[in-house]
Amino acid sequence: MSDLDLSEQAALSNAWQNWYRFSRNPTAVIGAIIVVVAVLLAVFAPYIVPYPADAGAVVDFQHRHLPPSWEHWFGTDNTGRDNFSRAIYGLRVSLALAGVVLVIAVPVGTVLGILAGYFGGWTEIVIMRLTDIALAIPPLVVALAVAAVLEPTLLNSMLALASLWWTWHARLVYSVTRQVRAQEYIEAAETLGASKLHILFREILPNVISPVAVKTSLDAGFVILIGAALSYLGLGVRPPTPDLGTMVANGANFLPDFWWESMLPATVILVLALGFNLLGDGLRDLFDVEDVR
C-alpha cells in the first residue's frame, strides 16, 4: 500500500513539475493557448460567430466586398458573406483534417515502428524499406493524384495524406525502440518470461510516447498547411462549406483591391500552424526529446 502511495505521489509531483516547467516557457504557453482557443472556436462556432448562416449558401449581393469593419471583422466576400464567420467555421475543416490524418497515421506508425525496432531481422527490413519507399513520395503529389482520380473531397484528401504520414512516426518510433530494447529492464522482463505483447506495449511503448506526442503536435501544423494548399488548388471541400484554403484562393481573384478576402484567412492559417509548432517545440523542451522533426 505504502508503495503505491509513494508512486502516486511521485507521479503527481512529476505532473506538477512538468506543468510548472511548461508554464515557465512563454512560447509554449502561447502555442497552447492558440491551439486551445482554435479548438474551442471550431467546436462552438455556431454559438460564437456573428453570422452563423453565412457558413452556408447565403447570398447578399448588396453587401459584397465590404472592407473590415465592426460589423464584419474580416470584411465580406464576393457573395456578401461575412468572412470572419466563415474563417471560424473554416477552422473546423482544418482541425478535422489534422485530427483524422493523425488519428490514423500515428497509431499505425507507432505500432509498425515498435515492431520493426524490437524484432529486427526480416520484420525490420520489410517495414523500414516500405517506410523508405513511402517517404520518397511527396504527400501533396499523392493527394493531388488521388483527388484527380477519385472525387476531390475532404475525406479522400485525408485518406491520401494519412496513407503516407505514418512513415514519419514509424521511423521515429523505430529509432527510439532500438535504443530502449538494449536497456537492462527489457532484458530483465525477457528473462522473467514476460510475453512479447507485454514487452512491446507495457515496457517499450511508454518510452516512445513523449517523442510521438511532440512529433504529433508539430505534424498537426504541417497537415493543416498541406490541407490549405490542396484547397487552394481547388481540391478541398466543395462550396459552400467554408474552408480557409478555399477562401484564400477565392479572395486571390480580387487582389489587391479587396485584400482582406485572402489575406485575413491566410493569417488565420498562419497563426494556427504557428500555434501547433510552438506547442510542439514547448513539449520537446519539456520532455527533453531530441531529433524530433
Binding site: 449558401a57 447570398v59 449581393f61 457573395t79 494548399a229 481547388g234 481573384n253 480580387f254 479587396f258
Partner: protein, 515 residues
C-alpha cells in the same frame, strides 16, 4: 500555384521574341484549346484557333453576310439542289501549294468520316461522295434534300491541305497529327502550343488574302481564368486584350490603368442552365419549372454578369424566328413551391447537383445564388465545380451529367438551326452542348421539318412553335444573351462582333495596331 509558376516561366521565355515581332497581341482565354483539328473543333477556344489557322470557302462579315474567302464566287442551282464554288486562282496553303478542288473534297470527306465537331451541320444534307471536283478550280456540293441554311454552314468547313494530311494519315485519319500540326491556308501559322498554358501564332506574310495596315504579327493566348493573374499581366504591360469572361472588378481595374478601353457588344451567345432531362429529379417537368422559378434573373444580369434578357431559348438576334409570345421565365418562389407540390417529389427532400466551371468566380456566385433559393424550397444541393475539360467528358454520359449545368452556347452558323439541332435534337445528344439529354420525337420532327423547307416564313412558324414547346417543358433555362465584353488596349482596333458565328470575331487578320 503550379499553374502560375508555369505561366510566369513561359512568359519569361517568350520575352526575347517580343523585339522581333512588331505588333503582338496577348490575350487570355479562360479555358484550354481542346483541339485545333478542324474536323473536331467545338467550343469557343477551338474555333478561335481554327479561324486564324484555317480558311473556309466563304466567311461571314459583321452584318452576317457571306463573303468570299477561298472561293471567289458561287452559284446556287435554280432548284437549290446543288451549289458550285469557284476557287480563287491565287489561293494557296501556307506551304505554298495551291488550294484545289480536291482539297475541298478531301476536307469534307474527312469531316464526315471522323463525324465530330461541325460534322453534324451536314448530317443528312450532303452525303459522302456528293462533293465533286469538276476541275482544279471548281467544286460542286450536291444536296441530298433541300436545306435552307446550307450556305450558312459552309464557313464552318475549314479546308485542309489534302496532300500533306494524307501523308500523315496513319491509321487514324491524321487525327493525332492534325491535333498538333496545321495544314491550312489561314492567315496565321502555329508557332508554339503548350496545352495547359499558352498558344502562340504568327502572321504568314505570304497569306494569299493579304493584310491591311498595321497587321497583327503575332497572337499569344495565355490560358488563365485567374482574375489576379489577368490584372497582373495588364499592369506589367504584357496583356493586350482580356477574354470575354472577366469579373466586373477586373474590367474596372483595367480601365483605371488608362491603357485599356472596354469593347462591349450584344451577342447571340446564350447562357443557359441546362437541366438533365433523363436524371432524377430533373426528369420531372414540375421540378424543372420550379428551378426556373427559383432563378433570380435580375440579380444574375444586373450584379453578377452583364447580359440582355432572354425570353426563349433562341436569342433575340434571330429576330425573324424569335417568338415574342413566349412569356419570359420569371423569379417567383411561390410559383416554384406550387410546381414542387404538383411533382412526384412533393413533401420530400429533393437531392440535386449543381455544376459549374471550377475557378470561374461568376459561375460560382450564380451557383450559390441558386443553392440559396433552392434550399429554401426543400432541395438538398450538392455543388459540383469541375474543370472545363472534365465537363466535356462527363457530358458524354447521361448518368454522369449533373442535374443543372451552366453552359454558354452561341450559333456556329447564321441559322436558328444551329441553336436547335445541336442542343435539342436527340441525334446530337452526348456533348456539352446538349447536356439536357432531350430525347423527344416531337422536337426532333419539328427540327427536321424546319431543316427540310426552304421557305423562311414556314421555318419561322415551326421555330416559334418549337420555342413555345421548349419553354413549356423548361428544358434549358435561358439566363441571358451574353454581352460580350473585352478590355482592349487603346491601340488595338478591328474588333467587330460577327453575331451568329462562334469565335469568328477573333479572326486576327481583321485587326490592326494603330500606334
Amino acid at each position: 500555384m503550379l499553374k502560375r509558376l508555369l505561366l510566369t516561366s513561359s512568359a519569361a521565355l517568350m520575352l526575347p521574341f517580343a523585339a522581333a515581332a512588331q505588333n503582338v497581341v496577348t490575350m487570355n482565354t479562360v479555358q484550354i484549346f481542346g483541339t485545333i483539328d478542324p474536323a473536331k473543333i467545338s467550343d469557343y477556344t477551338d474555333y478561335m484557333a481554327a479561324v486564324n489557322l484555317y480558311d473556309g470557302l466563304v466567311t461571314v462579315d459583321s452584318e452576317g453576310n457571306l463573303v468570299p474567302q477561298l472561293a471567289e464566287s458561287w452559284v446556287v442551282a435554280d432548284d437549290a439542289s446543288s451549289v458550285t464554288f469557284t476557287l480563287r486562282a491565287d489561293a494557296h496553303f501556307s506551304d505554298g501549294s495551291p488550294v484545289e478542288a480536291k482539297d475541298v473534297v478531301y476536307s469534307f470527306e474527312r469531316l464526315l468520316r471522323i463525324n465530330q465537331g461541325p460534322a453534324n451541320l451536314f448530317d443528312g444534307v450532303v452525303e459522302s461522295g456528293n462533293v465533286l471536283a469538276n476541275d482544279d478550280g471548281t467544286v460542286t456540293f450536291n444536296l441530298s434534300r433541300p436545306f435552307a441554311p446550307f450556305m450558312a454552314t459552309v464557313p464552318a468547313l475549314m479546308i485542309v491541305n489534302s496532300d500533306v494530311v494524307a501523308e500523315h494519315a496513319g491509321d487514324d485519319d491524321a487525327q493525332a497529327w492534325l491535333g498538333e500540326n496545321v495544314a491550312g491556308a489561314g492567315a496565321y501559322l502555329l508557332q508554339s502550343w503548350d496545352r495547359g498554358a499558352q498558344m502562340t501564332i504568327t502572321r504568314d506574310a505570304g497569306y494569299y488574302g493579304g493584310f491591311g495596315d498595321g497587321p497583327i504579327d503575332e497572337v499569344r493566348w495565355v490560358i488563365t481564368n485567374d482574375e489576379a493573374t489577368v490584372r497582373a499581366m495588364a499592369a506589367s504591360g504584357e496583356l493586350t486584350m482580356t477574354s470575354q469572361y472577366q469579373s466586373p472588378e477586373t474590367y474596372k481595374a483595367l480601365v483605371d490603368m488608362g491603357r485599356f478601353r472596354i469593347e462591349s457588344r450584344p451577342t447571340s451567345t446564350a447562357f443557359y442552365l441546362k437541366l438533365n432531362t433523363q436524371a432524377e429529379p430533373t426528369d420531372d417537368v414540375h421540378i424543372r419549372r420550379a428551378i426556373a422559378y427559383a432563378t433570380d434573373y435580375d440579380t444574375i444580369r444586373d450584379v453578377i454578369l452583364p447580359g440582355e434578357q432572354m425570353t426563349t431559348v433562341l436569342p433575340q438576334g434571330f429576330a425573324a424566328f424569335w417568338n415574342p409570345d413566349v412569356e419570359a421565365p420569371r423569379y417567383d418562389l411561390a410559383a416554384a413551391a406550387d410546381e414542387i407540390a404538383q411533382s412526384s417529389w412533393a413533401g420530400q427532400p429533393i437531392p440535386i447537383t449543381l455544376s459549374y466551371v471550377a475557378g470561374t468566380a461568376f459561375e460560382e456566385e450564380i451557383s450559390l445564388l441558386m443553392q440559396a433559393n433552392l434550399e429554401s424550397l426543400g432541395f438538398v444541393v450538392t455543388q459540383d465545380p469541375e474543370p472545363w475539360n472534365r465537363i466535356t467528358e462527363i457530358a458524354s454520359s447521361v448518368e454522369q451529367t449533373p442535374n443543372v449545368n451552366q453552359i454558354f452556347y452561341g450559333p456556329t452558323y447564321p441559322s436558328p438551326d444551329s441553336m436547335f439541332f445541336p442542343q435539342f435534337d436527340s441525334a446530337a445528344s452526348g456533348t456539352w452542348i446538349s447536356m439536357d439529354w432531350l430525347q423527344d420525337p416531337e422536337v426532333d420532327a419539328m427540327i427536321a421539318a424546319a431543316r427540310a423547307t426552304g421557305d423562311v416564313d414556314e421555318q419561322a412558324v415551326i421555330y416559334k412553335d418549337l420555342q413555345a414547346l421548349l419553354a413549356d417543358r423548361m428544358v434549358s433555362i435561358p439566363l441571358m444573351a451574353q454581352t460580350q465584353q473585352h478590355a482592349m488596349d487603346n491601340c488595338l482596333t478591328g474588333f467587330v462582333a460577327v453575331p451568329p458565328m462562334m469565335s469568328f470575331e477573333f479572326d486576327f487578320s481583321r485587326y490592326a495596331w494603330t500606334c
